[in-house]
Amino acid sequence: MTTAPQFKPAEPRPPARKSRWARTPKAPYLFILPYLLIFLTFWAWPIISSFMMSFKDSRLGETAPFGLSNWSRLVQDEFFRTALRNTLVIMIIQVPLMLSLATVLAVALNSKLLKAAGWFRFAFFAPLVVGTVAYSAVFRLLFNTDFGMVNRGLTSIGLPAVDWLNQSGPAMTVLILAMTWRWTGYNAIILLAGLQGISEDVYEAASIDGATPTQQFWKITLPLLRPSLLFCLVLSVIGTLQLFTEPALITNSGPGNATMTLGTYLYQQGFRSFNFGYASAIAYTVAAIAAIFSVVQLRLFGRDE
């Protein structure tokens, strides 16, 4: 008896499972590879490296291990607290001032009554185009105690001259004025874009219902503008935390430390004292504060109803 080979009917085999890797198209990754490499080398690595550096004493020859000393110094450092306090003061006074001004400006720029709107938009945006060094120099001149135009103006109408840059309160005022001058137009343009996204129908309906322009502003414009305002707010807060140019060039952090900000203190530690370890600790703290502020703002103002 021959046993014929038994042929089982071939079971339909499931197609070979290709690995996830094999199924993924490679080309896109190849295309972004150069960017990724650059990102890793010039962004990710410095971020990690500066974190590691914050645990080292970079002041003694080659970097030596330093444990938590930079961090414990940060906790006790009176200068850091001064810098933090100054930064927060600027943030609390300047940011709301600037955003309110920007909102008013944006509404005015959006008005159909305004002639030559394009020219005004350019005019308000123009401060941003001016080089920071140039504008800082101009502000220093304007507020010069003996020869500045501001004091000339004050004395000409019978008011006393102010020693702007050599006293703490006035120096802070100059900073806030300078920043407001520079950044209000920028925020106004962003808000203007937000305003133009609001449909005319809403206002028409409101007018028909008899809402006054003031009511329209508070009940329609502001609520609908909230996403744009939030965007401006978050950007301004982060910008203020990194504030450097104005205090460095207009007031030179002074008098004393009266206008020293986190940015100028970080720079002073890193590039005047060469204390990169401590500067890294400061940088990480600033980044953490910025992250916390952003989350809080998004939570508080970002909810959609």
Binding site: G61, S69, D77, N144, G254, P255, A258, F274
Partner: protein, 422 residues
Amino acid sequence: MKKFALMTALALASAASAQSLSGTVTVWSWDAAAKALQSTVPSFNKKYPNVKVNVVDLGNQNVYDRGLAGCAAGGVDMPDVYSIENNEAEVFWARFPNCFVDLNTLGADKVAKNFPAFKWTELMAGNKRYAMPWDSGPVVIFYRRDLYQQAGVNPTAIKTWDDFIAAGKKVNAKFDGKVKMGIVGNGQDDEWFRMLANQNNCFYFDNAGTSVTVNKPGCVDALNTVKKLYDAQVVATGDWGGQITSFKSGKSASAMFGAWYEGTIRTNAPDQKGKWGVYPMPASKPGGVRAANLGGSALALPSSSKNKAAAYAFMENALATTGGQVAMLKSQGLVPSLLSATKDPYVKVAQPYWGNQKVWQTILDTLGDVPQARGTQYFQDARQVMIVVQADYIKGKYKTAKEALDDAAKKISSATGLPVAK
């Protein structure tokens, strides 16, 4: 005859080595200092005709920043000769000990004794000589002869700070308080404190750089004097630019600074020619020291230089020869720290701008009395503390100068990790 042959052979040999130096030497410096170095190039090229010198004026801050970046990157993009301020020098040696050549290996130890000892303090680390002293800043009082005369003040009678304050009161009375005896950079800088403390043989740190000494009696006295000047209303506040506008407009009867300020006054107020004079800084008590130093620079040689022999030859010609130093004194008023240059005939020449006074003689005569002081690598940290403490003390935040400086010492100690001296 034998001796003559030997001399000829030696001369030929040195001429040959001078001929053999060639290539380009790039020098980084700033403003007037760069112009001064440029003025030494002709005499250098007489000795070394095949070396081309390229002095680059980057501006003070840029030289410091680019040097930092270059050293941090392990010595790339550095010049052959690097200008460095004494106060800031130790930061470089401490953070980047391999970024610069030990000049002793090129023969600097042989010329060391030609400079006053205090000029080397900040330029050495251990036995290594990282830079060669350049100019110095012996402190003097620059004064307006005409304004003093109108107020009835005799500058030669001002021997102590109390005399200075009394003179200031006369000036106040004469000009209704519109003219001041000096402008202090209070809140922006602590220069007056540093000059007065140095005069009293006190500074932020001891000369070994191992402890904080800012609350020692000499410094307490210095801070006290600054406050007394303010309380008597004989000085006003102003930053660097403010001080210049002030003397230009005739609101300052005098100014106290390192002697390098001579050029600043002369070039900013050429119309006040003949009206200015110079006298030594007042002492803290009768018969006390009337000298201090503020500022001054040095030249260093980056390790990455491809042309070290030529670079060193340039430094030596500019700084370690009387000819080089006097050329810089003539062109930009940089005060030599080379001892032989201080005896050059030019020093005794009457200067027309200064009312034909032999100002360099007056200024250089104080050089030997300057007490040593050391910036250390923590200079900037300490200075930042002191600027604030001085301003707060003037404002009345502390009861006594001692209390203010105890607080400053504590803060400097926590910023630097150095103990406060007992």
